[in-house]
C-alpha cells in the first residue's frame, strides 16, 4: 500500500483520512480517560484535532460546536504572530488560553505539538480543554460583572509548557498558584499533554507505513475533497444576498441596551461571504466574543445547512466561506474586553445566521432554538460554614422545522450538555428540586410547533445559599419563521414567603435563605408557518398532551 505522494490513489487517501480521524478519537479517549474534573469528564467540554504542517485542521473529534474550527484558528494565529515556527521542535508543547492570541475565553486552554518524520514536520496535534477554573473574581472564571479581561482570570500567553520533552516548572507553578482547585486543573492539563503524546505516536505510526510525502499529499487531498464537497453543497443553494438580525437582551452591566447581531450573507456560485459588520460594538460586560468564537458559529451554521451527512469536517470546508468582522465589534472584541460569556454571542449569532440561511434554503432551516446557555450556580452555606457548589446548565426547546415540530427540551446550537439528576443533587447537598417539567405553551405557534422549554425549581435547605446566574432571552424571544410565532420569553423568579419576584438574569452573589425557591422557566423554540395552517389533529394532540393549554389554543392558535 506504500505509495509516493504523487501517485497516491483515492483508496489510500480515504484510509489515511480515516486513520487521522481515528488518531483524533484516540486522543479524545485519552483526555476522557486521564482527566480529573467533572467538567471535562461529564460535560465532555473538550476537543482534539490533527492539523497539517501549516496548521490546517485535517481531522477532529469535536463534541462541542463552539470548538469547531477554533483550534485551527488558534494554531494559525500562533504560527503567524506568536511562535517562531523554525524554533518549535517536536518535543515542545505550546499552550495558551488568551482570547486575544486566538483563543475564546480564559477557561479554555489550547495545547499544540508538532510531529516530525525523517526530520520533516508532517503535522501538528492539538487539544482544547475547558478547565474548571482559571482564577479571577468568580469561581469557574465566569464572573457576570467583569468589565475587563484582567478581572476574568489568569492569561497564559503562548508559551512552551514543555520544551525539549521537559515540563517548564516555572510555567507549571505559575498556573498552579493562580487557580482554584489546582489538583484538578493541573490533572486535566496533564491529560492534555498525554493526549498530545498519543496523537503524535499515532501519526508517526502512519508516517512509518505510508511515508512522509504520502502523508503530506494525503493531507492536501483530504482538504481539497472536503472543499469540493462543500462547494458542491453551496452551489445547490440559490445565489443572493440574505440579511437577518437578532438581539441579546443586554450585557448585564448596561441593562437597557440590547445587543444587535446582524448578518449579511452573500451566496455567489460555490462561495459564501458572511459580513458581520452590522453587529453591535463591543460591550462593557463579559458578553463579547473573539473571532475564534464567531467563526465557529459561522462554520457550524454553514455546515449544518450544507445538509450532507458524509461531509468530512476539516479546514477544507472553511475555504469557501469568507467572514468579514471588523475589530471592535461584539463578534471580534478588542483587548481588553471581557469575554467569559462569549457563548451568549455565539448562540445569538447562530440564531441570526440561520435566519439568513432560511431565506436561501427555506426547506432546511428551523425557526430559532432557545439560543442561550441557562447557567446558574448555587453555593450552599451550612450553619457550620461548610459549602457545597452546584453548577447547572439548563436548556430549552428546539425550533420548529419546515417538515416537523421542534423537539421538547433538546440541547441545540452552540452548546451540548447533559442535565444533573435530581437524586444526585439531593444526595449531595442541602438543595431540593421541587419541580422539573415541560413548560406548556412555551413552543412558538405555527403550522409546525416549536419544541417546549422547561421549568425547574430549586428549594434552599441550608442556612444560606449564594446564587450566580447568566441567562438571556428574557426580553427578545426566539423568533418564528414563515409566519410562525415566537416562543415564550424566559423567566427567573425568587419565591419567598409565597410571593414571587423576578431575579435579574445576569446576577452575581444573590443571597438566598432557607425555604426560598428559585424558579427557572426556559424558552421553547420558535414556530414555523402560519398557526392557522396547523392540522386540527396535531393541535388536538397537543391539547391532549398538555403541550398547549386550552386558553392558548383559543387565543394564540385561534382554533
Amino acid at each position: 500500500m506504500t505509495a509516493p505522494g504523487d501517485r497516491l490513489g483515492p483508496i489510500e487517501v480515504e484510509v489515511i483520512r480515516n486513520a487521522l480521524t481515528a488518531a483524533a478519537a484516540e486522543m479524545d479517549v485519552t483526555v476522557w480517560r486521564t482527566s480529573r474534573s467533572t467538567i471535562v469528564r461529564e460535560l465532555l467540554d473538550y476537543s482534539t484535532a490533527i492539523f497539517d504542517a501549516e496548521g490546517n485542521n485535517v481531522a477532529q473529534s469535536a463534541r462541542i460546536p463552539s470548538h469547531l474550527n477554533s483550534m485551527g484558528h488558534g494554531l494559525r494565529e500562533l504560527l503567524a504572530r506568536h511562535v517562531d515556527a523554525a524554533a518549535w521542535g517536536p518535543e515542545d508543547v505550546v499552550i495558551t488560553n488568551d482570547p486575544y492570541c486566538g483563543g475564546q475565553h480564559l477557561p479554555d486552554i489550547l495545547a499544540f505539538k508538532p510531529v516530525e518524520h525523517e526530520g520533516r514536520r508532517i503535522a501538528f496535534v492539538g487539544t482544547l480543554c475547558h478547565h474548571l477554573d482559571m482564577g479571577g473574581l468568580a469561581a469557574g472564571s465566569y464572573a457576570a460583572t467583569a468589565t475587563e479581561i484582567f478581572q476574568e482570570g489568569l492569561r497564559i500567553p503562548p508559551v512552551k509548557l514543555v520544551e525539549g520533552g521537559r515540563v517548564n516548572a516555572g510555567v507549571w507553578a505559575m498556573i498552579r498558584q493562580n487557580v482554584r482547585k489546582p489538583d484538578l486543573v493541573m490533572g486535566d492539563l496533564q491529560s492534555q499533554l498525554a493526549s498530545l503524546d498519543v496523537g503524535a505516536a499515532a501519526l508517526r505510526r502512519l508516517a512509518a507505513r505510508y511515508g512522509t510525502e504520502a502523508m503530506l499529499e494525503a493531507g492536501r487531498r483530504i482538504l481539497d475533497m472536503s472543499e469540493a464537497t462543500m462547494r458542491a453543497a453551496i452551489r445547490r443553494m440559490p445565489d443572493g444576498v440574505y440579511e437577518f438580525e437578532d438581539f441579546l437582551d443586554d450585557d448585564g452591566i448596561v441593562l437597557d441596551q440590547p445587543i444587535r447581531l446582524h448578518v449579511k450573507l452573500t451566496i455567489a456560485g460555490d462561495g459564501i461571504e458572511v459580513d458581520l459588520s452590522g453587529c453591535a460594538k463591543q460591550v462593557a460586560g463579559p458578553v463579547n466574543a473573539t473571532l475564534a468564537s464567531s467563526q465557529a458559529a459561522v462554520m457550524f451554521a454553514v455546515m449544518s445547512a450544507a445538509d450532507d451527512p458524509a461531509l468530512a469536517a476539516n479546514a477544507g470546508c472553511y475555504r469557501p466561506v469568507r467572514v468579514i468582522a471588523p475589530e471592535g465589534l461584539v463578534v471580534n472584541a478588542r483587548h481588553p474586553a471581557p469575554v467569559a460569556h462569549r457563548i451568549a454571542v455565539g448562540h445569538r449569532l447562530l440564531n441570526a445566521l440561520f435566519g439568513a440561511l432560511h431565506q436561501a434554503v427555506p426547506e432546511r432551516i428551523p425557526a430559532a432554538y432557545y439560543g442561550n446557555s441557562y447557567v446558574c450556580t448555587f453555593q450552599t452555606v451550612a450553619e457550620d460554614g461548610s459549602r457545597e457548589v452546584l453548577v447547572e446548565i439548563e436548556i430549552g426547546g428546539s425550533g420548529a422545522h419546515p417538515a416537523k415540530d421542534g423537539v421538547n427540551t433538546y440541547a441545540s446550537g452552540m452548546h451540548n450538555n447533559a442535565n444533573i439528576p435530581v437524586e444526585m443533587i439531593e444526595s449531595q447537598m442541602p438543595l431540593e428540586i421541587a419541580r422539573y417539567g415541560l413548560l406548556p405553551d412555551s413552543g412558538g405557534a405555527g403550522a409546525r410547533r416549536g419544541g417546549l422549554g422547561l421549568v425547574r425549581e430549586w428549594r434552599v435547605l441550608s442556612e444560606r445559599c449564594v446564587l450566580t446566574a447568566n441567562m438571556d432571552r428574557f426580553h427578545h424571544a426566539p423568533y418564528g419563521l414563515a409566519g410562525g410565532q415566537p416562543a415564550n420569553r424566559g423567566r427567573l423568579l425568587l419565591i419567598r414567603d409565597g410571593r414571587e419576584e423576578p431575579i435579574p438574569p445576569k446576577t452575581d452573589g444573590l443571597v438566598l435563605l432557607r425555604g426560598d425557591v428559585v424558579r427557572l422557566e426556559t424558552s421553547g423554540g420558535g414556530g414555523f408557518g402560519d398557526p392557522a395552517g396547523r392540522e386540527a389533529a396535531a393541535l388536538a394532540r397537543d391539547l391532549a398532551l398538555g403541550y398547549v393549554t386550552p386558553a392558548a389554543a383559543r387565543d394564540v392558535w385561534r382554533s
Binding site: 480515504e14 478519537a25 460546536p65 428546539s398 440541547a411 451540548n416 417539567g437 391532549a544
Partner: protein
C-alpha cells in the same frame, strides 16, 4: 432440577435471530456438539424453535423426550421495542416530575442535524400521572402518600388511558420503596388485571431518568414476553418434548421463565451476549485468557472482550437510544457489515457506510433488488466468495450484476478497475474495523498486542486476518460453527440473578454496619430467588460487587468484592478500596489514595451453577480437506490460491496464506503472511509468521 438426568441428558441452546434460528445440541453421553439452523418464523418465533428442535432430533438421532434443558436466547424483547409492538402503558411518578421521561438527559447525539430525530418517548405525556408523595434522599418521608388522591382522581385518569401495563417510579424509591409498594398494593386491589412494574424492584439505583426508562421498558414488555412464553409453553409437551426452559439475559446468565416474565427488560440484549459467553468458554479451552471477540454480520460489527478469562460487564446499556440500567455484556457496536454501502461523494471521496443495504434489498449479489455495491459485493468481485458456494451452495450469487454495479458506482468515478475498487473498499473497511477494536481496548488502557482475536459471524472470517494485521494482533481464532457461536456460548451458561441497591455512603469503617445490613438483605434475596428456581444450596454462589467513585465524580466504576465475608470487616473494606484505586489507575491512569471514596450501589450476582459437561472434538468429514484452487485478486493481481473444506480439516493440515477456507455458513480468508491449523475445541487458529505483524 431437570428430572432424572440419565433419561433426559440432551441440552439444547437456541438463538433466535432476525433471519435464522440457530441451534447447538450437546449430548453429554458422547460429548458431541451439533449445530443446526432453521429459518426464523417472525410471526411466532416459538414455531421455528420447535421446528428446529424436531429437525435436529431427526438429523442427529435423539428423542425429544431426551431433551432435559433448553437454553433460549431471544430478540423478542428487543424487536418489540424497535418495531414499537408494545401495549399502551402508563407511568406513575412523584407529582411535579411527570416529564422526566421526556426531558431525558437532554444531550444530543447528532451534532449538525437541523431536523433531529430524538429518542422515542414510549409513554406519552397524557399517560404520565403524578402521585402525591415525596421521599427525601435519606429515605425519610417528606410528604406521605395521598391514598385518597391515588384511588380517586388519579385512578380515574389511569382508567381513561386504557393502559395495560403500569410503571411506577417515585423519587428516591431506591432508598425507601415503601410508597411504590403501597401504590402497587392499592392498584392490585383496585385493578387486579393491571401488570405493574416497580422501579424499586426492576432497577433500584440512583438517577431518576435512567431508572424510569428501564422500568417503563420493563412494564411495556411484560405483556409481550408473557404472551410469547405462554405460546412457547403450549408448544412444549408435544412428542414428549418437556425440557426445563431457561432464558438468556443481557448479562449472559440465564433465568427461569417466571423471572423472565416479571423482569423482561433483562432480556433486552440477550442475543449478542451469547457470542461473548462463547468467547469466555473458548478462552478457557484454548488457554488464551485475553480474547477480543469480533462478530461481523450483515449490518453491524460487535466488539467485546474477555480479559483474564472474564467477560466484561457494564451496568447500563441501551436499546433504540433509551437507557436500560441492568447488567449487560460490554460491547462496542459500529454500523459496518457485509451490507455496508460503498459510494463516491461529490468531492471524489470513497466512503463505505454508514448506510447499509441490510438484509433487504441486501448486496447486489443477492439479486433482491440491491443496486449499490456493498462490502459483500467487494468480496465477491475479488473471488473471496464463491458465487456457487454461498451459504453452502443454497444461494446463487449474481457475479455479472455485482461487477457492473462495482464498475458504475465506484470504479469509474475513481478511475480504477472493478477489482482495484473492490480491494479499496476492503482496505477502507478493514481500517475502520481495526479502529473500532483499537478504541475498545484503548479506552480501558489495554494493548491489542496482548490479545488474540476471536472472529465469528457470517462475514467475520473474510476480514479477520487483515484487521488483526492492522492492530498488530498475531493470532486469529476461527471457532467451529462460527455462524451459530452465540448458541454454543449459551450451552455453558449459568443461572444468574443480578440484584442491586443504591445507598450512597463513604467507604470508611463507620459505614460497615450499614454495608453489612445491605449485603445481608441482598444476599437473602439472592438465595431466596435461586431457591425459588430450584437451585440446590451446593450449586449456589453469591458474588458481591460495588459501584464506587471518588467524592465529586459523577460516574462510578464497578469493582468486584470477592473477598467479602457474610459480615464485612475493616480488612475486607480496605481491600475493596484498594481494588478501586487500582482499577481507577488502570482505566484512568491515576489514582488518588488521599481522596474520599464513596460507595454508590451495592450488587449481588446470585449464581446457580449448571453442570458443565465435557465436549469431545468433532471427527473430520471423510473427504479431502483441499477442495481445489480458485482465482483470487490479491495485492493488485489475480492468482490461483488453495481452497479448503473446514469440515474435512485434520490436525495435520497446514494452511499457508493466501488461502480460502469454506464451511457451510461462512468463508474465511487466511491472508498472505498467515499460517493456519486446527487447535483445541476444533478451532482453526491462524498465526502471523514471525508473530506479531
Amino acid at each position: 432440577m431437570s428430572g432424572p438426568p440419565m433419561e433426559r441428558p440432551i441440552r439444547i441452546a437456541v438463538d433466535i435471530g432476525g433471519t435464522f434460528t440457530d441451534l447447538q445440541i450437546l449430548d453429554p453421553r458422547s460429548g458431541a456438539v451439533h449445530a443446526w439452523k432453521t429459518p426464523t418464523t417472525p410471526e411466532d418465533p416459538s414455531l421455528g424453535l420447535v421446528t428446529g428442535v424436531r429437525e435436529a432430533a431427526e438429523r442427529f438421532g435423539f428423542a425429544l423426550a431426551e431433551v432435559g434443558l433448553l437454553l433460549h436466547g431471544t430478540t423478542i424483547a428487543t424487536n418489540a421495542v424497535l418495531e414499537r409492538r408494545l401495549p399502551p402503558g402508563a407511568l406513575l411518578t412523584t407529582e411535579g416530575f411527570e416529564d422526566v421521561l421526556e426531558i431525558t438527559r437532554h444531550y444530543r447525539r447528532e451534532l449538525y442535524a437541523l431536523a433531529p430525530d430524538p429518542p422515542p418517548v414510549l409513554v406519552p405525556r397524557d399517560r404520565r400521572l403524578g402521585v402525591r408523595e415525596r421521599m427525601r434522599a435519606d429515605g425519610s418521608v417528606e410528604r406521605t402518600l395521598d391514598e385518597a388522591h391515588l384511588l380517586g382522581p388519579l385512578l380515574a385518569r389511569l382508567d381513561a388511558t386504557g393502559a395495560e401495563a403500569v410503571a411506577v417510579c417515585l423519587l428516591h424509591g431506591y432508598v425507601n420503596p415503601a410508597h411504590e409498594q403501597r401504590v402497587r398494593d392499592l392498584l392490585a386491589k383496585a385493578r387486579p388485571g393491571l401488570a405493574v412494574s416497580l422501579a424499586s424492584e426492576i432497577s433500584p439505583e440512583i438517577r431518576e431518568y435512567e431508572r424510569s426508562s428501564t422500568t417503563v421498558l420493563n412494564a411495556l414488555l411484560v405483556p409481550v414476553v408473557r404472551a410469547y412464553l405462554e405460546r412457547l409453553e403450549r408448544r412444549l409437551g408435544e412428542g414428549g418434548f418437556q425440557p426445563v426452559v431457561l432464558l438468556v439475559q443481557s448479562s449472559g446468565g440465564v433465568c427461569s421463565l417466571r423471572a423472565a416474565a416479571e423482569q423482561p427488560a433483562r432480556l433486552l440484549l440477550s442475543g449478542p451476549s451469547g457470542g461473548t459467553l462463547a468467547a469466555a468458554r473458548l478462552a478457557q479451552e484454548l488457554g488464551r485468557p485475553n480474547l477480543v471477540a469480533v462478530d461481523m454480520g450483515g449490518t453491524s460489527y460487535d466488539v467485546s472482550l474477555v480479559q483474564d478469562g472474564r467477560v466484561g460487564l457494564v451496568t447500563q446499556g441501551e436499546v433504540d437510544r433509551l437507557p436500560v440500567r441492568l447488567p449487560m455484556v460490554e460491547m462496542r457496536t459500529i454500523g459496518a457489515g457485509g451490507g455496508s454501502i460503498a459510494s463516491v461523494d461529490a468531492g471524489g471521496r470513497l466512503t463505505v457506510g454508514p448506510r447499509s443495504a441490510g438484509a433487504k434489498p441486501g448486496p447486489v449479489a443477492y439479486g433482491r433488488g440491491g443496486v449499490e455495491p456493498t462490502v459483500t459485493d467487494a468480496n465477491l468481485v475479488l473471488g473471496r466468495l464463491d458465487p456457487d458456494f454461498f451459504l453452502g451452495g443454497s444461494m446463487q450469487l449474481d457475479m455479472p450484476a455485482t461487477r457492473a454495479a462495482m464498475a458504475a458506482c465506484v470504479a469509474e468515478p475513481l478511475g480504477l478497475s472493478p477489482e482495484d475498487a473492490a480491494e479499496g473498499i476492503l482496505a477502507v473497511t478493514n481500517a475502520n474495523l481495526g479502529a473500532a477494536v483499537r478504541l475498545s481496548l484503548f479506552e480501558k488502557g489495554l494493548d491489542p498486542r496482548d490479545f488474540a482475536m476471536l472472529s465469528f459471524g457470517g462475514a467475520g472470517g473474510l476480514h479477520a486476518t487483515d484487521v488483526a494485521a492492522e492492530l498488530g494482533i498475531g493470532e486469529v481464532v476461527f471457532p467451529r460453527n462460527p455462524g451459530t457461536l452465540s448458541a454454543y456460548g449459551m450451552l455453558f451458561s449459568d443461572l444468574v440473578q443480578d440484584i442491586a441497591r443504591s445507598r450512597m455512603m463513604p467507604a470508611v469503617p463507620g459505614s460497615l454496619p450499614a454495608l453489612a445490613a445491605l449485603l445481608a438483605e441482598l444476599r437473602g434475596e439472592g438465595a431466596a430467588r435461586l431457591a425459588r428456581d430450584g437451585v440446590a444450596p451446593a450449586d449456589q454462589f453469591l458474588e458481591a460487587a460495588a459501584d464506587m467513585r471518588y467524592h465529586g465524580q459523577a460516574f462510578e466504576l464497578l469493582v468486584r468484592w470477592p473477598s467479602v465475608a457474610d459480615v464485612p470487616d475493616e480488612a475486607a473494606l480496605a481491600r475493596l478500596v484498594a481494588d478501586f484505586h487500582a482499577m481507577h489507575r488502570q482505566r484512568f491512569s491515576y489514582a488518588d489514595e488521599t481522596a474520599a471514596v464513596e460507595i454508590v450501589t451495592l450488587r449481588i450476582a446470585a449464581i446457580g451453577r449448571l453442570a458443565r459437561p465435557p465436549v469431545a472434538d468433532a471427527a473430520p468429514a471423510a473427504r479431502p480437506a483441499r477442495k481445489g484452487m480458485r482465482r483470487l485478486y490479491e495485492g493488485g493481481a489475480w492468482r490461483e490460491v488453495a481452497v479448503y473444506d473446514r469440515e474435512a480439516l485434520t490436525p495435520h493440515d497446514i494452511i499457508e496464506g493466501p488461502a480460502i477456507v469454506e464451511e457451510a455458513f461462512a468463508t474465511h480468508v487466511v491472508a498472505r503472511g498467515w499460517r493456519a491449523a486446527l487447535g483445541p475445541a476444533g478451532a482453526l487458529i491462524a498465526r502471523h509468521e514471525g508473530g506479531t505483524p
